[in-house]
């Protein structure tokens, strides 16, 4: 049965069990939120998503508040905005949130919240300096940008269940740590990068893309991972002909945004200087470059000669389990319909 809530005086219907934040998002109403992520649900940590509800004394966190029929919610009252400003100002003061060269600039939930709340300059003073954790092959952590929302920890423990990240230390010294606060490279972290994808700010960054493009300069292209047989869906973030970074496609079958280390970071072999760029024909002990015509004619001629002399079964072929279906289809078609043999296989059973 459909229920209604009123947000800022306007009615919205919804079905089933939903939070106020979910109903607001579905209807295009922005409520700043930081620790909430739809894949791990409410964390009730950051308190930036607070709203005012008729009949309730205190401000309520919209990420955990169940929407109820007839509920009246204010997201832009002065009381709400003041509380949100305080939270964001404190977060901005606790660290060094300098957007100038931040990789997340333009795609940062803290920046979005500050912009929405009209915060130009945080009123409080920056506290201590924290070193970047740079030991990982693919992931950089900048603790000065961390807002301790815990999304990376939830992702690591509940989504990919690699169980490496946790909060370490206490109070004002709390930070995200790998195992018992080990350098990333010495820890049990396998660099699947789930934490990078979950991070709402620029505290966890994919190193390969650093300094290569602003977020708004890339466009996402959905494709399928070239490694194992799970078939994970990837978004390649592309500028010109370069992949700047890779994220898992959220909501897509079968991986729902999750990836492994190879899928997320193993993409740049295609740009290797060692790529073959021209047909090659054996000559003496090495190879010489050839035109397509010469190489194709040589192969077609030799196949024709062998078929005439020894029959089509004197030719055999192995297709590729890495390349696209259409390539394998054409290769078996060549063997069966042109050469005239069923001697076509691939590493099907290993």
């Amino acid at each position: 049965m459909s229920k209604n809530i009123f947000i800022n005086g306007k009615g919205f219907s919804f079905e089933g069990e939903k939070t106020v934040l979910e109903v607001a998002r579905e209807n295009g109403i922005y409520i700043p939120s930081l620790c909430y992520h739809e894949k791990v649900g409410p964390a009730n940590k950051c308190r930036v998503c607070v709203v005012e509800v008729d009949g309730m004394k205190d401000l309520q966190t919209s990420c955990s508040l169940a929407a109820a029929d007839g509920m009246k919610v204010g997201t832009t009252t002065e009381k709400v905005l003041e509380a949100q400003r305080m939270v964001v100002n404190l977060l901005l003061s606790n660290g060094n949130h300098n957007c100038l060269s931040c990789e997340a600039n333009g795609d940062c939930e803290l920046q979005d919240a500050a912009y929405y709340l009209g915060i130009e300059r945080p009123p409080f003073v920056i506290e201590e300096h924290k070193e970047r954790e740079d030991s990982g092959a693919f992931i950089l952590r900048d603790p000065e940008k961390c807002i301790q929302c815990g999304r990376c920890i939830e992702g690591c423990n509940r989504l990919v269940v690699n169980e490496v990240l946790d909060f370490g230390y206490r109070g004002g010294h709390t930070e995200v740590v790998w195992d018992n606060d080990m350098p990333l490279d010495d820890s049990n972290c396998v660099e699947c990068g789930e934490c990078v994808q979950m991070c709402p700010v620029g505290a966890l960054i994919a190193k390969k893309g650093m300094g290569r493009a602003r977020r708004w300069e890339t466009k996402p292209v959905r494709t399928t991972c070239p490694y194992c047989g799970v078939g994970c869906q990837l978004d390649l973030h592309v500028k010109d002909d370069q992949i700047i970074r890779v994220t898992g496609t959220e909501g897509a079958q079968p991986n729902m945004g999750h990836l492994c280390v190879k899928g997320r970071f193993g993409y740049d072999f295609i740009y290797s200087d060692e790529r073959l760029t021209t047909p090659l024909i054996r000559e003496n002990d090495g190879f010489r470059e050839a035109s397509w015509d010469e190489a194709l004619n040589l192969v077609a001629g030799k196949f024709t000669q062998i078929i005439e002399e020894s029959g089509p079964d004197a030719i055999a072929g192995v297709s590729c389990a890495r390349s696209i279906n259409e390539d394998s289809y054409n290769m078996q078609k060549l063997f069966r319909s042109v050469i005239g043999t069923n001697n076509i296989d691939h590493c099907a059973r290993t």
């Binding site: 047989g229 992949i243 790529r275 190489a295 054409n330 290769m331």
Partner: protein, 528 residues
């Protein structure tokens, strides 16, 4: 896979045998681990105590190559204790009596001696499987890469039929395919016995259909050779020309010395590849191919899902799409093919010429892919097979299967068993991962051995040792880990140096011709 990845998370029970999913299929393992956290029962059977074993309710550290005996032992308990799904078996299966007679020869005590796990653990597994239904069975190459690989696979199917775990969500026999498109290459008929969509070359109607579609008078009716037989016929020149598309056989096939002898004997070897490899060294002609991201197309995943792959850049230099290369050779041999893009090949040939793909068109898989069978353009695809116990052949056929040991077993001279596989940070012969920074995570091969063997032989973690089999010998760094059981050496094939395939045994399952990568005997020695 009969079933789908997304089901795993909500399964009641998952039985993983011969699959180190955490490293070989990491994203699938996330769902298995999440299922455990939600209360599912996980049973892991494997020679190695790999990461998933830590999450298991029951971990059976079975001896390499004992799978048939182990599974027969479980089925023995299910039958003798009357725990199997009689209704499912009677309604949907046949030859139960033959299966029963065979598994009665494998009481838990006998299975225990072969699998080297306690008889009571075999009983516990059987009882746990019986009370937690449906349950999904997952396997990978730990099951298939044996001389008895086909029998191992049949045994997993026997078990799931006996438990009535087929034809519903949360059940199934689920082989996780190793490569991104090994499912697709099978589906596309890159196999010696079938056209694409598994239409037999021995079926006159199928040949007539394809002869007409391809505009040729006839098509060959005799199944062709499988890879090991192709290569074995190179030295004798029975096979004179060999065409290798994107495979690095000189590193990935067992017994490298023999593989290289065969490849070097080829009268005419053609390769399509994106890099020079150990295999292209033997080529007479090498065609430069477009890589991933340089061509539009489709892959088919383990769960039979046909997914789109998209082009973002041109291939380097004069490199060309592989389908184009095959089309050009055909043209030069007198055959004009019409389709001139991947999309045309799929939509105009692959899809209409095979019933399982008839409903799959590029326009329908812009976002999520579709799972075959998908017989019409209105069909939503098939998330699990054999609904209501309806099998492709009619009734599910039980097979009475005898256990056989690996072709080569430990002896005085070679007292260790060598088993092989993949590691998380690399892929096969590293042509890709070796050029994508993954060497930072793993820069050389290791021989993994257990602490007891290391202590007995005075080998320290990280020390270089010599590992030898009857086929070769490598110098390799020892990695001492309690994942490995006593008497085993475990290695991968990612690096040319110390590649396990210098040692592996080129013996094959008689039907599938899958090599016994998982078991051969070897010895280890300290380097003075």
């Amino acid at each position: 896979m009969t079933n789908s990845f997304r089901e795993f998370e909500n399964n009641k029970l998952i039985f993983c045998i011969g699959t180190n999913m955490t490293e070989a299929h990491p994203v699938a393992s996330y769902y298995v681990k999440r299922a455990v956290n939600k209360g599912a029962t996980l049973i892991v059977a494997d020679p190695r105590k790999h990461a998933l074993a830590d999450k298991a309710s029951i971990f059976a550290q079975i001896k390499v190559g004992s799978d048939v005996a182990f599974l027969n032992g479980i089925m023995n308990v299910l039958i003798t204790e009357d725990l199997y799904d009689k209704k499912f078996v009677e309604a949907n299966c046949e030859d139960f009596e033959a299966l029963k007679a065979k598994v009665l020869e494998y009481p838990p005590e006998r299975a225990s001696k072969i699998a080297r796990v306690p008889a009571d653990q075999i009983r516990e597994i059987a009882r746990t499987l019986a009370v937690n239904r449906p349950g999904a069975l997952c396997y990978t190459l730990g099951i298939t890469e044996h001389t008895c690989g086909k029998n191992n696979v049949m045994s997993t199917a026997n078990l799931q039929m006996l438990l009535g775990n087929l034809g519903m969500e949360g059940g199934g026999v689920n082989p996780l395919r190793g490569q991104n498109n090994v499912q697709g290459a099978c589906d596309m008929g890159a196999l010696p016995n079938v056209f694409h969509g598994y239409q037999a070359v021995t079926d006159p109607a199928a040949r007539e259909k394809f002869a007409k579609a391809w505009n040729v008078p006839s098509l060959p009716d005799k199944p062709g050779l499988m890879i090991p037989d192709m290569m074995a016929k190179l030295p004798s020149k029975e096979v004179r020309a060999f065409y290798i598309f994107g495979e690095n056989l000189a590193n990935t096939d067992p017994n490298i010395a023999n593989v290289e002898h065969e490849l070097s004997s080829a009268e005419f070897l053609v390769c399509n590849d994106i890099f020079m490899t150990e295999t292209t060294r033997f080529a007479h002609v090498i065609f430069p191919s477009a890589a991933w991201c340089e061509d539009d197309g489709t892959f088919a995943s383990s769960e039979r899902r046909v997914n789109r792959v998209r082009k973002i850049k041109e291939p380097p230099g004069q490199a060309k799409p592989n389908w184009w290369i095959f089309k050009e050779i055909a043209k030069r041999m007198g055959h004009e093919w019409r389709s001139s893009s991947s999309r045309e090949i799929w939509d105009k040939e692959v899809s209409p010429l095979a019933a399982p793909y008839t409903g799959i068109k590029y326009a329908r898989i812009e976002n999520d892919g579709l799972q075959w069978p998908c017989p019409s353009e209105e069909h939503p695809g098939t998330t699990f097979l054999h609904k209501d116990g309806k099998f492709t052949r009619g009734k599910g056929l039980f097979q009475a299967i005898e256990w056989t040991p690996p072709a080569e077993v430990e002896d005085e001279e070679y007292p260790f068993v060598l088993s092989t596989g993949r590691r998380l940070f690399h892929y096969h012969s590293r042509t890709q991962t070796g050029r994508a920074g993954m060497d930072q995570k793993l820069s050389e091969e290791t021989a993994d051995i257990c602490p007891k063997d290391a202590a007995r032989l005075g080998i320290a973690n990280g020390e270089y040792i010599q590992v030898s089999s009857r086929r070769g010998s490598v110098r390799v760094k020892a990695r001492v880990t309690d994942q490995i059981p006593l008497g085993m050496v475990w290695m991968a094939f990612h690096f040319r140096e110390a590649n396990a395939n210098w040692l592996t045994n080129n013996v094959y399952d008689p039907q599938t011709k899958t090599a016994e990568y998982k078991a051969c005997s070897c010895k280890i020695e300290k380097i003075a």
